[in-house]
């Protein structure tokens, strides 16, 4: 597959400093990496390692202090519909029904009404929410809200999904369910996924490739290909080996005081 070898997202020399009262905080030291088309990449690291900042820079919500992010060879200048963000707290429009939320992107493209409705219907169905299409977000469970958020970016034809701990606020059962559904969607549609998580288990289950970040300042400490066949069996010794390896790398990059904070120690 020559197409999948082509880098779709190139992160080149990206650093980020935030001004604070007494000088600057260096959130990201130089980050260089490339993500291929259709690749499923997980970013893991302890809180404060800059993984969310990295994601927000790719989304175009924040500007890097130095360096640039290229998507399909072109430097990004701000948020764009080619990159769809799925937030941990959903960020659905509470005054819109499920259907209207999903239709929001297509509506911005000034498509004819019939076409907007058709696309919205299709993606509401894709995430299994036909029966709830006319409900408001406040009437949905967390898992259903996150399904709407995923449908919303897919309906907008985003080729890159940026997911910021999307399942972090969900209960374990719903989380497993959504992980499975996300993998199904990913295997059927040509999307690249950059997925931030602090769960080693989640990264091992989902990713083709895991970028382990370390804090103070944030940088990529390890870049690991996960070559387990899919669907992955979480009970298999191979899966456990990957998980242990990731956990070991994650903890070895942390200062002792971070260990307690990350709940590892």
């Amino acid at each position: 597959m020559p197409e999948s070898k082509r880098p779709q997202v190139v992160i080149r020399g990206v650093t980020k400093r935030f001004p604070v009262a007494d000088g600057d905080i260096e959130a990201l030291a130089r980050i260089d990496t490339a993500i291929r088309q259709r690749e499923f990449v997980c970013l893991i690291g302890a809180s404060g390692c800059g993984k969310s900042t990295m994601l927000r820079i790719v989304a175009g919500f924040e500007e890097p202090t130095t360096g640039e992010v290229l998507v399909d060879g072109k430097p990004i200048t701000g948020p764009g519909s080619d990159r769809g963000m799925v937030f941990q707290d959903y960020a659905l429009f509470p005054w819109m029904t499920v259907r209207k939320n999903v239709a929001f992107g297509p509506r911005q493209r000034q498509l004819p009404h019939g076409e907007v409705d058709r696309i919205a219907g299709e993606y509401v169905k894709l995430v299994g929410l036909e029966r709830f299409a006319d409900r408001y977000p406040s009437q949905l469970s967390g898992g259903m809200k996150q399904r709407v958020a995923i449908a919303r970016v897919l309906a907008n034809d985003a080729s890159i999904l940026l997911m910021d701990e999307p399942f972090g606020a969900l209960d374990a059962l719903t989380r497993e369910q959504l992980q499975r559904e996300l993998l199904q969607i990913w295997s059927r549609s040509p999307v690249t996924i950059l997925f931030v998580t602090h769960s080693v288990e989640e990264a091992a289950l989902l990713a083709d490739r895991v970028l382990v970040m370390s804090a103070g300042p944030g940088r990529i400490a390890s870049d690991i290909d996960v070559e387990l066949p899919r669907p992955r069996d979480v009970a298999s010794p191979e899966f456990n080996a990957v998980r242990r390896d990731l956990a070991r790398r994650l903890t070895s990059h942390m200062m002792p005081r971070d260990l307690a904070a990350a709940g590892v120690a």
Binding site: F61, F87, A91, W95, G128, F132, S138, S141
Partner: protein, 289 residues
């Protein structure tokens, strides 16, 4: 997949069906009757106390509820005193309404878009915020002389005063509404290709609506409060002018009648605003007043 979706959906379904619909309807009805009985009962107690207080003190300065009721009847239908005020209630209510709503809608028309822009645009906020907070504490009554100079004796001065009173609550609540919108919603809209005026129309405005309706409701109350001051500017008709006339003629029964009519108008129109707000904000469970 669809089975598991159904499983997820069950908690939501359950709370709709856990009691039979007629039983829930009955309970809701009893609750409603109870609320109305309590809400209407208290004013009746106040009227009783008023009646007793007038009777016991034997004052001739304050009319009894009975006298006011007679005045109210005459004001509404005529046939008792047959003076200049008999059967004129609708004229006065209508005139006052045109001033109240003239000022109120003018305030909303200017304050909402201005508030949305001040809330979103930092430059505008830095430019206007100090001025707004300087002008805001000035009582509307203090503007009375100037408004009579600007607009002359007549309804426009009244509309201007109502406008001033209604303007700040709408403006400040709109700014507050915009400022308290979750920034993620703007980010989500931006990544979905929304920008510029589309952002104002599709995100900033609807997201701020709960706060805007709060402002409208407060402003609407002020608008009715200010109608008496507004109609002090020498207009011949309107509930405010009726009260001013009653004062000049020492007819306290007329004054109290005017007060009650303003109260009732304000109350009924407030219910309409609440009903509209509940309809527009039906997506927001915490904004059902």
């Amino acid at each position: 997949m669809s089975e598991q979706v159904t499983a997820l959906a069950q908690p939501v379904e359950q709370d709709v069906t856990d009691t039979s619909v007629p039983a829930r309807g009955r309970r809701r009805l009893t609750e409603r009757i109870r609320a109305i009985a309590l809400g209407a009962g208290f004013p009746l107690v106040l009227i009783l106390l008023w009646d007793r207080a007038v009777a016991i003190t034997g004052t001739r300065l304050v009319p009894s509820p009975r006298e006011v009721a007679v005045m109210m009847y005459d004001f509404s239908f005529g046939g008792i005193y047959d003076d200049a005020f008999s059967g004129t209630i609708l004229t006065h209510v209508w005139k006052s309404m045109t001033r109240v709503y003239g000022g109120f809608f003018l305030a909303a028309l200017i304050a909402i878009p201005l508030g949305l822009m001040i809330g979103r645009i930092k430059l505008l906020r830095q430019l206007l915020d100090p001025t707004i907070n300087l002008l805001r504490p000035i009582p509307v009554t203090a503007w009375l002389p100037l408004s009579m100079i600007f607009f002359g004796l007549g309804p426009n001065a009244a509309i201007f005063l109502v406008f001033l009173g209604a303007f700040y609550p709408i403006l400040l609540n709109t700014i507050f509404g915009v400022r308290s919108v979750d920034v993620r919603l703007f980010e989500a809209a931006a990544m979905l290709g929304c920008s510029g005026s589309g952002m104002f129309r599709q995100v900033v405005l609807p997201a701020s609506l709960p706060a805007i309706f709060n402002g409208l409701r407060i402003a609407h109350g002020f608008a009715w409060i200010l109608i008496v001051v507004g109609e002090m500017t020498g207009v011949p008709t309107g509930l405010g002018s009726v009260i001013m006339d009653g004062r000049t003629l020492s007819r306290t029964d007329l004054v109290v009648t005017g007060m009650i009519v303003i109260g009732v108008c304000g109350f009924l129109t407030d219910r309409i605003i609440v009903a509209i707000s509940n309809r527009v904000l039906r997506w927001s469970p915490q904004h059902h007043a």
